[in-house]
């Protein structure tokens, strides 16, 4: 029941504010409260090299690059805890596509959103 209800509630809350794509493994806190899944290339560790000189997106020239925004906010957004600000420089692991559509809140509580493949290493 909770597994079905929570994604609906989460999408209602996070959709309008962050354009949440329901990846089920939320990293908003580490990306300046900017959803990386709204990057047309869905980069978890951006920005890519295609950012235009005015900071706009390579793919959608009318949109500010999601990652330019993320780095700007991570540095300047008020009330963001220091550890969250610093986490933007950490490498985020590949997206677990099995979690798409799940509630990231449930996956946060269960720790499933932090499980990585056995061969994953940051360095």
């Amino acid at each position: 029941m909770l597994r079905k209800l929570l994604p609906v509630v989460e999408h209602v809350v996070k959709g309008p504010v962050w354009d949440c794509q329901m990846c089920g493994q939320c990293v908003l806190h580490s990306t300046g409260m900017t959803c990386p899944m709204t990057c047309p290339k869905t980069l978890r560790n951006g920005p890519c090299g295609g950012v235009r000189p005015d900071g706009k997106c390579e793919v959608k020239p009318e949109m500010r690059c999601v990652w330019v925004k993320a780095h700007d906010r991570a540095e300047n957004m008020p009330l963001l805890p220091k550890t969250w600000r610093e986490e933007i420089t950490h490498m985020r692991p590949p997206v677990n596509n099995e979690l798409k559509g799940d509630s990231s809140w449930l996956n946060l509580v269960s720790g499933r959103d932090r499980q990585t493949p056995a061969g994953w290493q940051e360095g």
Binding site: P47, C48, G49
Partner: protein, 308 residues
Amino acid sequence: MEDFGGLLADRRRPIVTAEFPSLDGGDLDTVAAALDHYRPYVDAVNITDNPAAHAHASNVSMAIAVKQLGVEPIMQVVCRDKNRLAAQADVVGASMHGVTTFCALTGDDVTAGDEPEARRVFDLDSPQLISVMNGISRGHYLSGRELKHPKELLIGAVENPFAPPPEVRVRRAKMKVDAGARFLQLQIGYEPHALESFMAGVVANGVAERAAILPTVILTKSPGALRFMDGQVPGIHVPAPVIDRIANAEDAAEESYLLVREQVEHALALPGVAGVHITDFRHDDSLRRLVSDLALGPAFAPSAAATA
């Protein structure tokens, strides 16, 4: 050929790499003929992976061919076209043919190419792909499953010092080097100050010592080529005064060459720069002239002559 990994490690002279043109048919003789243009003058050639989101003969096939023809291929793998399974399969498969140098890129979006209706993949991003390649080099897939007789890989990446935000470019370079990149080829750029501040940043954070930084230049012969790149190629910005310089020159082709030679001289004089990557869109004698004028690469570097 001198060992590319050795050159990267000891930096006894500036490294010269070049962009191998993409091919759309022919046979191994076609590859060999194209390679002859580069062979004497470079330490390795980039084998591109559907550059600018246009389909071409595959990176794996071309890297194997070039390796067999005796030139070190740097096999690019972009994140745009293949998921993590296919990307790993390509790297492992190519390594079985002796291709052990790779370069991980995000890749231009499908909208930059001639099939914009294609599905974009981006299952991994480039820092993640570097890390996955590093895992393969250590003997396992991303899943943790072991490889048989793994080859040690030399992994590189790219960065664009000319795209905003500048301070993030330096941090992202570090993220890629932390993930396992041992060389970084930079995007083409025409703003010397941006390159200077990027290099100062990667020297200060130790990245330039841990990875060979190779700025890129492109040999062209007309203002039209610069205008095209500025308008059509993602991530490349050519300021108006640079285009004007070529457009107003008496001999646009000669002025274009001189511009590139200045760019290479400027880059190689910067602390932390380990060499240069050259894209040749002229297909004339300019590549040879450039490495000869500046005494670079296997044919013309002073140390190469001394040991020859």
